[in-house]
Amino acid sequence: MNYPVWEIPQIGGGMMIGLIAILHVFVSHFAVGGGLYLVLAERKAYRENDPAVLEYVKNHSLFFVLVVLVFGAVSGVGIWWSIGLVSPAATSTLLHVFVWAWAIEWVFFAVEIAAAFVYYYGWDRLDRHTHLIVGWIYFIAAWLSLFVINGILTFMLTPGRWLTTREFWDAFFNPTAIPSLIIRTMVSIALAGLYGLVTAAAIPERRLKAKMVRYAAGWLLPASLVLPLGGVWYISQIPPLAREISMGGSPAVMIFAGLSIALSAILFIFAFFGPFQRPQHFNLPFAFMLALIGLSVTGVTEWVREAVRKPYVIYGYMYSNGITKREQEAIQREGALAAAKWVTTREVREDNRQEVGRNLYEIQCASCHTIDGFNGMRFAVKGWRKEFIDFQLQHLSELKGFMPPFMGTEAERRALAAWLADLNPKITPITEPLAQRTVPPIAVAMGGAQAAD
């Protein structure tokens, strides 16, 4: 409302962020856990004095660099790019609360990148001891960057005491920060194992392959024990409405939440009875299948995490459409068009209701809805009369708890209702007289075509 609007046809802005974010999360958690995997596997090679293992770790580190340094880093920038385009007001809020946290995260990121290069290019150049230290520096910096970003991410769902104190530390150490950090750390370690399984499955030599497959599979086990506990702790800390949405309040969200748990369980069971128990039978297609399940878990879980935050983008502070609760009353009184910047009109007249409706849709609905695609409005209001839409708009937050209330004057609301009603063609009642019968009833019953001749 304060900013221009970017309408993305079919998928909408939220999905655009989601697509980039899911891929980034799947790689960036590997970036953290994978660092630990590299140093521990390297140390294992030295301890067992096994040059074959060391050779595997070297190859794995190339894979690591190509996935993490390139895709992980660029897609992370991509999330930042996309949130600024889709939710500029929320991005601005996060920047104002957390710019120093982000600056600190940037320092860790820079150390991480530098360490990864020195680690990768230093294989045959640095002595073992120094090389391992560089690996540890990488992992610690990567985990610290997760630590910082986790505080910012969790703030959006549970800003906690920040809502009243406006204190940085209340925002950062919010109610879900610690349980979420535990979950993300465990996911990182599990993903390190999952990616490790892919490179281990590609080893040609049988003995080494069996050894490294079993080793990598073992990395999934701690997560299978700790994640359920972390999950329960996390869920106990989220707002009641968010909990209700994920546990039946919204069937789609509940199904996805269920999928997240079910797919995680399948992944751990497969990993345990497959590569962990019978590493010699493990192969690359199996590894890719497990990785694909891992990506699906990431996808559905992140989707649920985003979905339960509705109707807010920053819980209790800013609605999904970028309007803060503080602005709400003034907008209700003065009108949304009066408060907005990027609108084509500021007054509601008899002859510009379409224009008003369209403007209101852009500033209050388009952040979650499209017209014809995802969450499409044309379908949502199909068959609804203008009066019924207007009634719905008056009670949005009661009828649909995950939607922000409509904010604006009565005239604006009516204009929006009229515009929404006009998205679908009018169903006009039939008033014409009935047609005369030209075909005898018996002929119709015997089969249309011949009878009509």
């Binding site: 940037w106 820079a110 020195v118 520096i137």
Partner: protein, 360 residues
């Protein structure tokens, strides 16, 4: 003042604007170095790869510079994050608006960055095997990074021109309103591009000076070749820079031509350092390097003054509400020092290591 400029964020800035702007300029300078070496280095690698088909010295040079390109991408991105962060927190109302107008081109930067980055890696790892085809990969990646540069220029100019927003927004909410018609965009982009050729030429000269210790003939040639690029591009810059200056709106241009004492002094100092560099660099490489880096620092400051001149009476960061987060800022400084120490230690260990020379 344009009525479209969004209201400032209701939350106060977590530090005075001057501090955030100072960090913006400092980190932008740090970003400009690898960015220029990447843009110019990619271009010069393409040229050397073509010339290398007949001249073995160029083939060797291209091999050496091509291996640096992926690392330069990483440095450019990493050092680019900080200035963009400080830009967004201070100038968010302007930056978010202009970015949204050109949302698709702006977002496409991510995809192009990914492709260009992987292209350089592919090229770097498979240089020998790719043979004559290698040059097309460098060319494609370099072209992608040049387009990214042009899109950045376009957005950085558009955020300073709220008067152009309305006409663009009237074109639709599709996020396809790329504004390349603004008269300063091409000279501004060319100014940056020619600077990147000059700095990359200098980079190659420094590489040659380092190589001369092991291979005097080749290293000496590389040094001379790099300097030729530096000198030619820097002389050319006087013309391009003047074109850029001439393309600026008259009221802003005059600030740098005597109208504003500080702005004029900055420009004179920057140009003087560039001339000193040109006159001395063939004999004293390090003096020429230091003086031209001085020009880059001053140019980063000039760029900031130019932004302020554009936004005068439209958007004044000094007016924004402030509530400093002193403790978190102190923590940032502390971690920054630790981070620099950690990086320095690793690079030092790497440089001193006695193992086989797997050069970056």
């Amino acid at each position: 003042m344009s009525p479209l400029i969004p209201y400032p964020d209701p939350l106060p800035l977590p530090a005075p604007a001057w501090l955030l702007e100072a960090l913006l300029v400092v980190t932008l300078f740090l970003h400009l170095l690898p960015m220029s070496l990447l843009m110019g280095g990619g271009t010069l690698t393409v040229i050397s790869e073509f010339l290398g088909r007949r001249d073995d010295r160029h083939r060797r040079l291209a091999h050496a510079t091509a291996r640096l390109l992926p690392v330069l991408v990483a440095f450019t991105i990493t050092l680019g994050i900080a200035p963009l962060l400080f830009l967004q927190v201070v100038y968010g109302p302007l930056f978010f608006s202009s970015s949204i107008l050109m949302a698709w081109p702006w977002l496409s930067i991510i995809g192009m960055m990914l492709l260009g980055y992987y292209g350089y890696y592919w090229h770097s790892f498979q240089f020998e095997r790719l043979g004559r085809r290698a040059v097309w990969i460098t060319l494609a990646s370099t072209a992608l990074f040049a387009i990214i540069g042009l899109l950045f220029t376009s957005n950085m100019v558009l955020m300073l021109n709220p008067a152009r927003w309305e006409a663009l927004y009237r074109g639709g909410r599709s996020g396809l309103q790329l504004d390349l018609a603004e008269p300063t965009i091409f000279p501004r982009f060319l100014h940056m591009f020619v600077a990147s050729l000059a700095l990359s030429g200098l980079g190659i000269a420094l590489l040659g000076a380092a190589k001369a210790r092991a291979d005097k003939a080749f290293g000496g040639w590389v040094r001379q070749y790099g300097l030729r690029w530096f000198v030619t591009a820097t002389w050319l810059q006087f013309a391009v820079g003047f074109w850029f200056l001439a393309s600026l709106p008259p009221s802003i241009r005059s600030l740098f031509l005597g109208g504003g004492a500080f702005e004029t002094a900055l420009l004179v100092a920057a140009l003087s350092l560039a001339v000193i560099s040109l006159l001395t660099i063939r004999r004293w490489l390090s003096l020429g390097t230091v003086t031209i880096l001085g020009t880059v620092v001053l140019m980063a400051v000039i760029r900031h003054r130019l932004r302020a001149a554009y936004l005068a009476s439209q958007f004044d960061p000094g007016q924004l509400a402030v509530q400093p987060q002193l403790a978190v800022f102190a923590l940032f400084v502390l971690f920054l020092l630790c981070g620099i120490a950690a990086i320095a230690w690793m690079v030092w260990k790497f440089a001193l290591a006695s193992g086989p020379r797997t050069e970056l």
